[in-house]
């Protein structure tokens, strides 16, 4: 072995000493013969790798061929007992050539079909149409299988079939799609379009219709997928997010973890981040730790901890502070049963009131107050920072937009007094608004919590709503709250909202704390409006305690959902609540 060869072998095994490394670098730059030799050994090295990778593929293809081996078609006689492909006999060279030329023609046909399929796909404008190499290979293997059976059932070794495949050129780099790239660690309420057969995941597309799934890529990146989500596993450290939301936790060994979206590519530099994207609404990246780069080959921006990068439909990337953005991302897998909102299935409006995304990222006890947008409110604690329980009935101050949550258009105090009651930022008016005192008692609270003698959660029909899986909204009359359904739809681009459901009524805990004569006269009318139309209204009283289910169908064109409570009297003891307020979700089928 010459010195040159020795240096190259050392390089390939990553064993160069510092001195040898310097010599190597110098000779690459100055010695023409050496750099050529380096390329030749590089080629040899790469081809050896291919040979061994192919062996792996060969084994899986052989299994595949067994599975795909079909019973003989009429006209074909016999030949089911021994599969020609798996026979170990050496074939003769003439036949191999025959198979090769046949295989080439078959490949031509196959590619022509792919072209046709591609044209169809183009019509439907589906993005991320990549050549599905695994499918291509399998289809070709299947066709060859049949073909070989037809052209005389020649005995041919599996290796020859594989050689033929490679002759016709299905690249081994693509064939590596057989490799496992990630594992499915955990899931919660998960409904898949095509459920994975095993926890070892290979390259390819997946669609989570409901719930959560947690994956760990082989290189170490942990990803929490939130339904509805369509994504593609591309390698041990790379994926594509076609639409949906995910968070990623990337340890140091997986630095460089990459997520392609239709709008930009996110490259991680060791961090935790959330990413959501869709076909129509750009992409948004929230960086919780570390930094990521967002962009494409021509331009990119680096977002650091506490920043959000927003890619709009024009491809412009803007940076904002996370403080201005709502809690869009679920960062930890919720325990099964610990959440009322389930991605892809049911969105929790109480969580939205708490500043969340409807899937448990909000804070219980957080309140929307018609005089100040948000006020702190401790759910179970004894200190209530919001000075609400001082017998002061506050007056209405018109429609108040809520900037902090894109899902809430605004809040208001309903009254038909001197001015009409505006219920949306677009100026919709509550036409049939009754006369009220124009005052309210509490804010609108995530979790119907009442503070009278002691802090406690509300109860309807004997049922106490006090855990995260049984949420409620506290709405002491007179208050109204309008959700922006369009913003909610935008946050989950592949879902439609089919119904609004809740239970409403006045909390029975009144009876635990007070004599009947104190509360027997309390009556509250609960209203649900869709784009200003009254879809539900009912007066509920406390003698006896009444509660009522609400179930309203929603159409894709409906934008504003408004919940209102009014009372004709002074608003004392109007402990009103919307319990388990839910938007039912349905996967939109394209």
């Amino acid at each position: 072995m010459t010195d040159s060869q020795k240096l190259i072998h050392l390089y390939l095994e990553n064993q160069l000493s510092a001195e040898q490394a310097r010599e190597f670098q110098t000779r690459i730059k100055e010695d023409d013969a050496f750099v050529r030799l380096f390329a030749q050994y590089g080629l040899l090295n790469s081809c050896i790798r291919n040979e061994f990778a192919e062996n792996d593929v060969q084994a899986s293809l052989s299994r595949y061929a067994v599975m795909q081996c079909e019973p003989s078609t009429p006209g074909d006689t016999g030949q089911t007992a021994s599969n020609p492909i798996l026979s170990s006999e050496e074939p003769d060279p003439g036949r191999i050539r025959e198979i090769e030329s046949y295989a080439k023609r078959e490949l031509e046909k196959f590619l022509a079909e792919q072209d046709k399929a591609a044209r169809v796909d183009q019509d439907t404008r589906r993005p991320f149409i990549t050549v599905d190499w695994k499918a291509a290979l399998e289809a070709l293997a299947q066709r060859l299988d049949r073909t070989l059976a037809m052209i005389g059932r020649m005995a041919v070794a599996a290796s020859i079939v594989i050689a033929v495949l490679l002759v016709v050129g299905i690249g081994v780099d693509y064939v590596l799609s057989m490799q496992v790239v990630a594992t499915l660690d955990d899931s919660s309420h998960a409904v898949w379009r095509v459920p994975p057969q095993e926890t070892q995941l290979r390259r390819g597309s997946m669609a989570l219709e409901q719930g959560y799934a947690q994956l760990t890529f082989k290189r170490g990146a942990q990803v929490l997928i939130q339904a509805p989500c369509t994504f593609e596993l591309q390698s041990i450290n790379k994926m594509a997010l076609e639409d949906g939301s995910m968070t990623a936790n990337v340890p140091s060994q997986a630095v460089g973890f990459r997520v392609q979206t239709p709008w930009a590519t996110v490259v991680d530099y060791g961090t935790e981040f959330g990413l959501s994207t869709g076909q129509t609404n750009g992409a948004e990246v929230h960086v919780f730790k570390g930094k990521v780069s967002v962009g494409d080959a021509t331009s990119s921006q680096v977002a650091t901890k506490g920043q959000a990068a927003i890619v709009d439909q024009a491809g412009h990337i803007g940076l904002k502070s996370l403080g201005d953005r709502p809690n869009l991302f679920v960062r930890d897998m919720p325990e099964t049963g610990s959440c009322f909102g389930i991605p892809g299935k049911r969105l929790d409006l109480a969580d939205v009131v708490g500043g969340g995304n409807g899937f448990g990222t909000g804070e219980p006890g957080r309140a929307l107050d018609p005089t100040r947008d948000y006020a702190n409110f401790t759910f179970r604690g004894t200190i209530l920072r919001r000075p609400f329980n001082q017998g002061i009935f506050r007056a209405a101050s018109g429609f108040i937009g809520i900037e902090q949550s894109p899902f809430i258009d605004g809040i208001f105090v309903p009254d038909s007094g001197e001015q009409s009651t505006t219920i949306s930022s677009t100026g919709l008016v509550f036409q049939d608004c009754p006369n009220t005192h124009g005052t309210y008692y509490d804010g609108i609270v995530c979790g119907a919590v009442f503070d009278d003698q002691h802090v406690h959660t509300g109860r309807l029909a004997g049922h106490s709503y006090e855990t995260p899986e049984q949420p409620s909204i506290g709405v002491s009359a007179n208050v109204g709250l309008t959700f922006d359904l369009d913003s909610i739809r935008e946050s989950m681009s592949d879902c439609s909202i089919s119904r609004f459901r809740a239970h409403c009524g006045i909390s029975e805990t009144l009876a635990d704390l007070h004599e009947k004569n104190v509360y027997a006269q309390v009556k509250v009318t609960f209203w649900v409006l869709v784009d200003g139309r009254i879809e539900y209204s009912r007066e509920l009283g406390t003698d006896p305690f009444e509660s009522d289910p609400i179930d309203i169908a929603l159409n894709p064109g409906d934008r504003f959902l408004t919940l209102i409570t009014t009372t004709p009297q002074e608003n004392l003891y109007c402990w009103s609540m919307f319990a388990e307020p839910a938007l039912e979700l349905e996967r939109r089928h394209r």
Partner: protein
């Protein structure tokens, strides 16, 4: 901006066959710069995607290999950037020369590949096993030495010898000036 789509036109057939023409050389180029097989696989796949994406814009009379090696150089540089390497092993001049060397050996690549396919069939026993651990199981010298219960140096020597034997065999079969320093 429309959401990005990969090429779906009728050119695809040509794109696939063209990729097949260049992939042996491109893979070799990438693997000689990124020694970790998993990482190099990633980068090769990125190059294939760029190839599929940009193929239709290419002037068909142009030689493919210089173009695709340029794409490869860019993707390799990208990879090293994400690795936060403090210092690059190869500087710009070295990268340029290596790229040029692969360009010049490209015409031999398919013959070498075919010859190697035959040569490797003849390998048996410990040499084959060692190669398999290195190239299929993707183990480093240290891991292989533990697995086989021999010294690291012995593993290294084994790998050198096997590669040299394969190089000789390929040289004989291709009947070329290949592998002479």
């Amino acid at each position: 901006m429309r959401p990005k789509r990969l090429q779906t036109n009728t050119n695809r057939r040509h794109s696939i066959t063209s990729w097949i023409e260049v992939q042996t050389t491109v893979s070799a180029y990438v693997r000689s710069l990124i020694l970790d097989f998993h990482d190099s696989e990633d980068v090769i796949q990125n190059i294939a995607l760029v190839f599929a994406d940009k193929f239709e814009q290419l002037d068909s009379s142009r030689d493919l290999i210089p173009w695709v090696l340029k794409v490869a150089r860019y993707e390799v540089a990208n990879y090293f950037r994400t690795q936060n390497r403090e210092k690059k092993f190869f500087d710009e001049k070295a990268m340029h020369r290596i790229e040029h060397a692969y360009q010049s050996i490209h015409p031999e690549a398919d013959d070498v590949k075919a010859a190697l396919h035959e040569c490797i069939q003849k390998l048996r026993g410990r040499p084959r096993e060692t190669l398999k651990l290195r190239y299929f199981k993707e183990m480093g010298i240290g891991d292989i030495s533990r697995q086989l219960g021999i010294s690291k140096n012995a593993v290294y020597i084994m790998l050198c010898r096997v590669r040299e034997a394969l190089a000789k065999c390929v040289k004989r079969k291709t009947n070329s000036q290949w592998m002479t320093s």
